[in-house]
Symmetry: none
DNA sequence: TATGAATGAGGCTTCATTCAT
DNA sequence: AATGAATGAAGCCTCATTCAT
């Protein structure tokens, strides 16, 4: 908003009205809209309506719908990764660290349904935009290297079975956490809502932790 | 089907007066198109172009785009469930039956990417159409009851840990099988293609089988 | 319906299933539909749905939508004129006869809103179809000649002012009777429903009778 | 009224950036088209063709066909009522004022056939849109209150018979003026054109004035 | 005589995007 | 930096009508 400037405030170069803030505002609106309706289903007009600014600004800052979507996708990844960093698994025994990671991932996905939906939508669109984004690629590299570190530590201590693959492990954790959110609509429509109550979710999460840690545990120890 | 057809009527130009055939033709085209581009992104014109008939017939038989989509979704579920019925798990020891079910589901999803994509898309649309379809609901009831039978058998024989929940188990199997197909585009874009080679897939599937059976196995036996 | 004929009943020329009845059925449906929705707004499918027969029969008997409309318009005029014939004004004193005619016309229009609406619709369409119908023209000639007879009688007896014009008189009676039905929707939307209650209608009718007879009465008598 | 236009901007190619002008242009075209062909029969493409702008702008300003029709109907009422205001009946003796009102209404309807046709069409559509328009309702309230004033004055002076009802009187005046225009096509098709010549119209109008004033006149005075 | 299948033309509407100021 | 006006391309859908049996 910013109090409307009276005439005389018009410096030669114009005033700044926090363009970064405007962009963030637009991107937040875009994430909501795209997450709700998909890329093709999301409408620029609706995004503009969710915004403090006008439709014109969207084109001014992002070029076109696809550009906005690409930036919104990046932002969604960025927001989510931000939350993950604090985990600090290094201080824990490997199996506990793994349990905590699974548990955290499950809950984290649960708390960020718009992100999950953006990813789902991006998959529907064959990950075209994600491939084009070096930002996202670099954001995710950390997830694997962190896991590699943990696996190395677990193998060294003898707590993990030998031969674990970080990418596979990430896939497994992701599958059990992602599907839970992405497929809730169809799953609950078909099989009822029981698994999506607080109690049901806790059970699913605990069993996911159990499955993954059991899988990683060294049977010889 | 096509009972009204006389012998020798497979003319070069296709059928005439075979409404069921026309409908099937349209639905097959619709599944391809919607699976590729989503509901909003799919164009009636493109569907018609994939068809032996005209756009007009789509409206004649399905009313509107949404009606066609709903029927296509039902057909996609129907096609897939058809393949599942032949499994015949009853003859196997419970843990073997479970292993076979997981393995089959993983492969089956893999072989039906259009179905997976239709379900993803339906989730993007909050399962509106699925909720409205009693056909799909009844198709899926069987999956749970089959699992319930298996669990009962496994518990009775002592092979399964007590207290397994059929819906939960179905959720776990589905998660590991569905995510593999649904998220391949983003996952391989971010983490490479290794898991999606023949070898990678075999590994993922075997580990899924291992995880599920280990989870179900009675530790006291 | 007519009991379905068994094979063997098929005479060479086929059987008759009351084609006139079918036509009447179609025309009645057409009048309802066109009166409700206008010519362009009326749909052949809806007419067929109101019918005991199928859409195909409409084309078989009436050629096209316009042909059906033209016949329906004729039928509407015919139905209405049928009711008018019994009036027998000849036995009454001229002013009483005129009063009766006005009163009757007012009520008669009121009781035949579909006819009024068909005429309104035909006026919207610039009376194209009516001009083409010699049937309707001849049906209406009687109305004027009857009035001419009455005027002649009234002038001869000295009850009517001299110089009355039959067509003008018909116009006046029609105006006060037709508008009452044709414009009820807008009039009551704008000015309330009071004039269209039983009491309001009686008042309007009595005043119409009063206005017309006062106008026709010979002031010198 | 196009205040943003600079002096000398009446360029050959028409205006730019004059939204009110564009809207008026569209509405004028819409009234012509709808009056000619009805709501269902009127084509948006044809309306656009009568316009200085494009079809797209119709949707930009009016949303859809029905929205345009509703606004056109309002405008038609507005145009017509505008002409009525100047009448200034207050200065005349009541019977003269009434005569002038009838005469004026008759001529006014005659001069605004598009308005009459819009009202006919609205009646065909059961006055749906008119009911929804508070603008039109308020426009017409004036007609009744003006008549009430006249009646009060005429009763007070003893020129009018007691007990006249303003709405009824309005109905009578309207009937004789409206029918004349609305039913000209069918009436002249059936009974010839004599009443619709200049001479015929003058006669009809004078007789309408006579009928109404005779009806309103106090017989005791 | 009768019916369901099929059709082409045309109408309404939406949407991303650009222009003028 | 910002806004409302304007636009073209394309999509969905309806309707009268005809075909094949």
């Amino acid at each position: 908003m910013g109090k409307p400037l009276k005439s005389g405030d018009k410096t030669k170069s114009g005033w700044k009205q926090d363009p970064e803030g405007v962009k963030r505002d637009i991107i937040a609106a875009a994430i909501s809209e795209f997450a709700k309706s998909g890329f093709t289903g999301g409408k620029i007009d609706d995004i503009a309506a969710r915004t403090k600014t006008s439709k014109r600004m969207i084109y001014y800052y992002f070029g076109d719908k696809e550009g906005l979507y690409a930036r919104a996708l990046e932002a969604a990844y960025g927001n989510v990764r931000k939350g993950e960093i604090e985990l600090n698994l290094e201080g824990l025994p490997p199996l506990d660290a793994l349990a905590k990671l699974v548990s955290f991932t499950f809950d984290h996905h649960r708390k960020n349904p718009d992100f999950i939906r953006m990813v789902m939508i991006e998959n529907v669109h064959h990950a075209e935009h994600l491939q084009a984004s070096s930002i996202i690629t670099s954001l995710n590299a950390g997830a694997i290297s962190r896991l590699e570190g943990l696996i190395a530590r677990g193998e060294a201590s003898g707590d993990f079975r030998p031969g674990l693959d970080a990418t596979e492990l990430h896939w497994q954790i992701s599958a059990l956490s992602f599907f839970n959110v992405s497929n809730q609509p169809t799953f609950s429509a078909l099989f009822g809502n029981a698994l999506f109550t607080q109690r049901g979710q806790k059970s699913l999460r605990d069993r996911a932790v159990e499955m993954i840690t059991a899988f990683a545990r060294n049977p010889d120890k």
